[in-house]
Structures are given as C-alpha cells and as structure tokens.
Amino acid sequence: MGDTIASLLIGEIGIIQDFCLDAIPLNLLEMGCLPGKEVRLLQIAPLKDPLYIKVNGSHLAIRIETAKQINITKLL
C-alpha cells in the first residue's frame, strides 16, 4: 500500500488508482493521466527529479511532488 508513481523503479508499471480528485491538477487528467490507466516509469532525471513517464499513450515529464500525489498499484 501507499505506492505512488514516485515509488516506481525505472521500467516498472503501475495502475493508477481512484485518486483524490483535489490532489491532482485537472490539466494532468486532461493529458490522459486517469484512474485505471497504466503508467510506466521510463526515466528519472539525473537529480532524481523530474520523472519521465508513459501514461495512456502519452509521454510526459512530471515533477516528483506531482508524482507523489498519484497513487498506484504496482504490476509485476
């Protein structure tokens, strides 16, 4: 429990959970970052921030504080 996008390792995949709507900016949802969608961590920037993810077909870079707001369940 308590996994977020920030706790993924490179190459790992998670499923975005039903998240608290207030914590996630609308704009991220609109880019396809929705509950139930698969998210894969592609790269971590050299200073551990930002994160480069693929979610719902989009390739995005988000900052770690945003990533920490998005709960996931890890897929093995």
Partner: protein, 703 residues
C-alpha cells in the same frame, strides 16, 4: 456563403501536432515550426484561397491540451473560441490531430464539437503511420464522431486539397455535440445553467463558469450571472474532473473500434535515444558538448565569409566615394551609412550558423530532453526547466525569447525567466563585441589552438549567462510570490529535421535581423549626421575663432584645418549634447563621442558602431577612406595623446554592453508580457546601474 465574403478558420489542436505546418501550407507563409510543444505562443493570421469564390482568413493558434488553460499561450485559444465579439472569432474550426496521440487529440476535439463550432478533424503526419504500425478506420471513425475527417501530411503536402474541398462544404457539417455532459454529471445543475444562459451552448456556458478568471471580455452583467454558479469552488472542480473522465470514456470506446497499433512494427529508437540523451552523465556531456560545438562553429566557420563581406563593403565605400560628387553627404554615405550597414551584414554568417543549430535542435525533439535534464537545476535558481529554451534562444534575440517563456505555467518562474533573459548575449551585442575585441585583444593563439580573441568572446557569453543565473537567484530570494505550480511537459518523439523548415527559419530570422537593424542604423546615421553638421553661432564661426586662437602658433594648414574641424564638431548640436553628458560617462573612460554612440545604441545595441562611424566621419571630412576599425584605432585622446580605445576603455565598454539593458524593443515586450511597467523599469535601472558601476570600477582599475 456569398461572393467575396471571408471565412475565419481557426487551427486548434494539441501542441506539436503540426498546426503551424498546416498553416504554412494553406497560406504560403513561413511561420516558425519545431518539434517542441510550445513553439507557437501567439495568434497568427494569414489568407488562403479555398476555392474560386471563397477566401479564408486562417488563424494559427498556440497548442493546447484542452480549452481549460494553464498557461498564457493556452489562454489565447480560450479567448479566441469564446469571445464572439472578437474580429478573429472563427466561423469554423480545424482541429489538427496527429496519428500517434489520437486519443488525447480527440479529447480536445470533443470539447470543440461541444461548443457547436462547425468543425473538422484533420489527422496529420499520415506519412508516419506505416512506420509506426498504426491503422485508423477513417470511415468508422467518421460515423462514430459524426464529423468529417481528413488524413493529411502537412510536411509532405498530402491531403491539403481534399481538406480545402471539404471546407467548401462546411455549412452542411454536423454540429451535434459529442459528449452530453449534463446527463452524465448532474442534470439538475446543468439544466439551470441552460435556462440561465439560453443564448449560449451549454458547453460554452460551462466554460464561462469554470474559466471566468481567464475571460476578461465578459460584460459586467454576465459576470454577475456567472459568479452565481462558481461560488461553490469545490463542486465546480469535481464536475470538471468528472467531465474529463467521462470524455475519455467515450473516446476510448470509439478508438477501440477504429484505431490499432501493431507493436511489432513500432521501433524503439525512441527509448534507446532517450536512454543516452537523458543519461545522468552522458546526458550532460552531450548537452554541453553541443553548446561548445555551437560556439566553436560560430567563430570558426564564420570567419572566412566574414572577411569576404568586410572587403566587399570596403570596396563599396570606395566606389561611392569615387563616383558620387564630393561633399559631406557623400561622406555620410560612403563612411557612415555603408560601413554602418556593413557592420551588420558582416554578422550574417555567425547569426545564420547560430539559427541553423537552434532550428535543427528544435526540429529533432531534443529540446524537451534538455528541459527534462535541467529542470531540477533551474529550479534552484527560481526558474523552470522550460526556461532553458528562452535562455538559449536569447542568444539570438531577447524579444522572441521572452515570448517563448509563455508556456511556463508558474508565474514566478516565468517572471524570473523574463527578467534575466536580457543578460544572455544576444546577436546585437556581437558587432560591438567583435570590433572592440579586435581593437584591444591581440590576435594570438594560446596553446597553439585557442584564439585569444575567440576566447574573450566566449568569456563574454559566459559572463552574460552567469549574470542571468546570479540575478535569478537574487530575484528568487527577493520576490515573494506564492504560486501553485504544475509542471508537465510532453516528450515528443524524435524526428529527422525537415530541411525546408530549418532553411526557412534561418533565412527568416537572419532577414529580420538585417532589416530591423538596418533601418535603425540608416535613420540614426542621418539624424546624427545632421546634428553633427549643424550648430549655432560658434559652430558657424569656427573658422574665424580657431584661426584667431592659433594665429600666434603659425601652424601648417593641414593641422589648422583639423583643429577647425574638431572645434566645429564640438560646437555642433550633437557636440553640445555630448558635453552635457560627458561628466557622467567620464569615470567610465569615455569621451563625449562615445557617449553619443552609447546613447544612440539604446535604440538597439548594434547601432553603436554605425553611430561612431558617422560622428568620426563628419569630423574627418575629405580624408582618405578608412574602415571603421582603422578610424577607431586612430582616435586619440587630445589631452593625454593616448589611444582612445585602449585596453581600459575597451574593457569598460565591453562590460557595459554585457550588462546594460539597451534595447527599447525588449522593454516594450517585457511590459506587454508582464502587463506592468514595474518590471521593465526594474530591468532598465537595475541592469543600467550594474553596468555603470562595473564599467567605472573596471576603468579605474585598468587605467
């Protein structure tokens, strides 16, 4: 549509889908295109002939993921689509999507459809489909979306004619909405909205409610009505989320039936390149390697063509001098205007090389990787990774660079970026640097490879960058602005640069540089020439006065004439002005002539050399033709007899130009972008004071 009516057509779509590429195809214009989300940051218009009887005004807009904006450039899209009193309010909308990210593109399309615009879906980059293993069942998709769809390739010019033919028929397009938001979310709530705003489509009313703060075109009555609905912030926010999820549900269903990707066909070039280019050590090495390469080539590759241009303009002066009737005006042309223009044209090679690199990098998709690499570091300085793009393009010109900061969503990060951009060494500083360096730094090599003059120039670039970073840190600690930031950037796929796009970008930018500066130099040298060749009493009687003063010395004619000319210049209008400012600039090591050139260059920095040329030439009327550089090297301080442009004065000038904010154009843009005079005034005074103090200190230490 009747006879010669004009149709307003807006191009809307996600960033980087090829809206501007399509715009250029339709209008024949050459707006800037690049593989980076956020190239277009402003509304651009152009004419297009759709058919015999139908002309359209095409409106290119910044890219946006949704009509709910988070950055300034996105707000422009919202305004264009909602403000129907606007002259560019569209009659129809072309939504530009792209084969790879169709799902996300359709999200925006569904919003546009719900606004009830006659709209057509254009799916761009069809040339990429086979390579990526994508198949789209266009006919089925048309049925599902109840819309017209055209597959095009803006780069290969495919499907454009089909699009035009379809547009002719726009009055018959289906304008039914795609998503029925009221039913799915809260029918009672949306029913009240419907009855309160019967004049608008439901979705438009909903947008006005959720985006009230971004709509400054509303009447006060409307304002009032809207406020009633969005008092309950939480509810509105929740409904927006629901709406988003609902839209994606619909789209997913549709795409399941119509869109497929064959994973085997998709190459993983992207991930391989990403692994290297964003690697924690190689990533930085490659980035700084590229920067080094750019600077080296600016100095190395450009030197041959620059020498050619130099000698070309020298012979042009010679030609003017021998063929035009003798007189001051000929001198102005031959020694003021021609070298002044030459002093700009000579930089074409360097500027073209700079733009060649920037445009190529932008087309490859590499820039987003730099943003990703640099974000954390830039945040320590109060900026965003996205600030890197404006800071790099600031080496060309601060004005587009400041505009490019529009896609930074955090206001504080954006403001700091705007404020420090003018420290980066723009191309207008290059002419001034180059000539001063040539005068005061010996043309020698150290360690056999590094050219000392080139190193000095490189040092000045670094100095500018350091100044930008340090003042950013200062501002970061001083400015008390609370912002809730959201940083998201899309990482586009890598592309081979299109030669045509890069070529046009280089030509366009270079042309703008030459003509912009050329006009100012031409105007200014004529004004300065006039002010230097006229004056009041003492100016007119210069002959008498000087002859009388010197009568006892029995000077040879030549020397006497020189003295008269100097005396005359000193008492011309411009001389009088110069004398007024001399006390202020003396501590920096300048005489009044440099002072005048300095003030002239507040219009634009590159004017400095031309202004000096004009002043010197009026003084040395009738003498042999010399290049500006030779004339500057020959100028001596009448009191000490030393060279005017010695090391101390030269360094002081170089540093002044490195720090001072001498560009009216930039100040105007900063005012426009920050909507306040406060910030440009801060830049002008802050950078001015810094430049002054540094120059005074430098001069007093070195002399």
């Amino acid at each position: 549509m009747q006879g010669n009516s004009v149709l307003n057509i807006a191009l809307v779509g996600n960033p980087n889908t090829g809206k501007t590429s399509l715009f250029n195809q339709l209008t024949g214009l050459n707006q800037k295109v690049g593989n980076y989300p956020g190239i277009t940051v402003d509304k651009k218009q152009g004419k297009c002939k759709i058919s015999e009887h139908l002309t359209a005004e095409i409106i290119d807009l910044p890219g946006t993921y949704s009509i709910n904006p988070t950055t300034l450039d996105e707000t422009i899209v919202l305004e264009t689509l909602l403000d129907d009193s606007n002259s560019s309010f569209p009659d129809l909308v072309i939504v530009v999507a792209e084969v790879e990210n169709l799902k996300r593109n359709l999200f925006l399309f569904s919003q546009i459809k719900d606004l009830k615009f006659p709209s057509i879906l254009v799916i761009n980059m069809s040339d990429q489909m086979a390579r990526k293993g994508i198949t789209i069942d266009i006919d089925a998709l048309k049925k599902e979306l109840k819309s017209e769809i055209i597959l095009i390739s803006a780069r290969k010019n495919l499907g454009i004619d089909a699009l035009k033919r379809e547009i002719e028929n726009y009055e018959n397009w289906n304008t039914e909405p795609i998503a029925n938001i009221s039913e799915k979310i809260d029918s009672v709530f949306f029913e009240t909205i419907k009855t309160t705003f019967p004049e608008f489509s439901l979705y438009k009313s909903w947008l006005l409610i959720t985006q009230q703060k971004n709509c400054n075109f509303l009447s006060s009555k409307l304002h009032h009505k809207i406020t009633e609905f969005n008092k309950d912030n939480e509810k509105v926010g929740k409904y927006q989320h629901k709406e988003t999820i609902y839209r994606y549900q619909i789209i997913n269903e549709i795409l399941k039936k119509t869109y497929s990707v064959d994973k085997n066909e998709a190459t993983d070039l992207r991930s391989r390149l990403d692994r290297i280019l964003t690697h924690k050590t190689y990533g930085y090495i490659i980035f700084f390697g590229i920067l080094m390469l750019i600077f080296q080539s600016i100095f190395e590759w450009a030197s041959l063509p620059m020498d050619l241009i130099d000698s070309l303009f020298a012979s042009l002066s010679e030609l003017a001098k021998t063929n035009l009737p003798k007189g001051t005006f000929t001198n102005l042309i031959a020694e003021g205007v021609i070298p002044g223009i030459g002093g700009i044209v000579i930089f074409i090679p360097q500027i073209a090389i700079l733009f060649l690199f920037i445009a190529t990098l932008e087309e490859t998709g590499y820039m987003s990787r730099v943003v990703f690499l640099m974000d954390k570091i830039m945040r320590k300085f109060g900026m965003s990774g996205k600030s890197i793009i404006p800071l790099i393009s600031g080496t060309a010109c601060a004005i587009p660079a400041i505009m490019a900061s529009r896609n930074i969503s955090d206001w504080k990060e954006r403001l700091i970026t705007i404020l420090v951009i003018p420290f980066t060494t723009c191309s207008a500083r290059l002419p001034v640097y180059a000539i001063l360096i040539a005068l005061i730094i010996p043309d020698e090599r150290i360690f056999g490879i590094f050219n000392l003059q080139g190193l000095t120039l490189m040092g000045l670039y670094l100095l500018g960058f350091t100044a930008a970073i340090s003042s950013a840190v200062l501002l970061h600690n001083v400015l008390k602005i609370k912002t809730k930031s959201l940083f998201v950037i899309e990482m586009p796929n890598y592309k081979l640069p299109s030669f045509k796009n890069v070529f046009y970008e280089v030509v366009e930018k270079t042309r703008a540089f030459i003509f912009g500066a050329g006009k100012i130099i031409l105007a200014l040298s004529i004004i300065l020439w006039f002010l230097a060749s006229n004056g009041s009493d003492k100016f007119k009687k210069a002959d008498e006065i000087v002859s009388k003063q010197e009568s006892a010395n029995n000077l040879p004619d030549e020397v006497l004439n020189k003295k008269i000319a100097s005396y005359r210049l000193e008492h011309s209008y411009i001389g009088n002005m110069g004398k007024v400012i001399e006390p202020v600039i003396k501590p920096m090591g300048y005489d009044w002539k440099i002072g005048i050139a300095l003030i002239s260059s507040f219009a634009a920095r590159e004017v400095f050399i031309g202004a000096l040329a004009t002043i010197y030439n009026v003084e040395s009327e009738g003498e042999n033709v010399t290049t500006i550089k030779e004339r500057m090297a020959a100028e001596v301080d009448p009191v000490t007899g030393e060279k005017r442009f010695n090391f101390a004065t030269g360094m002081s000038l170089l540093l002044f130009y490195a720090f001072a904010m001498q560009c009216i154009g930039t100040l105007a843009i900063v005012k426009r972008e920050t909507k306040s005079w406060k910030w440009p005034i801060l830049q002008l005074t802050g950078m001015g004071a810094l430049a002054y103090i540094v120059s005074v200190i430098t001069f007093s230490i070195l002399s």
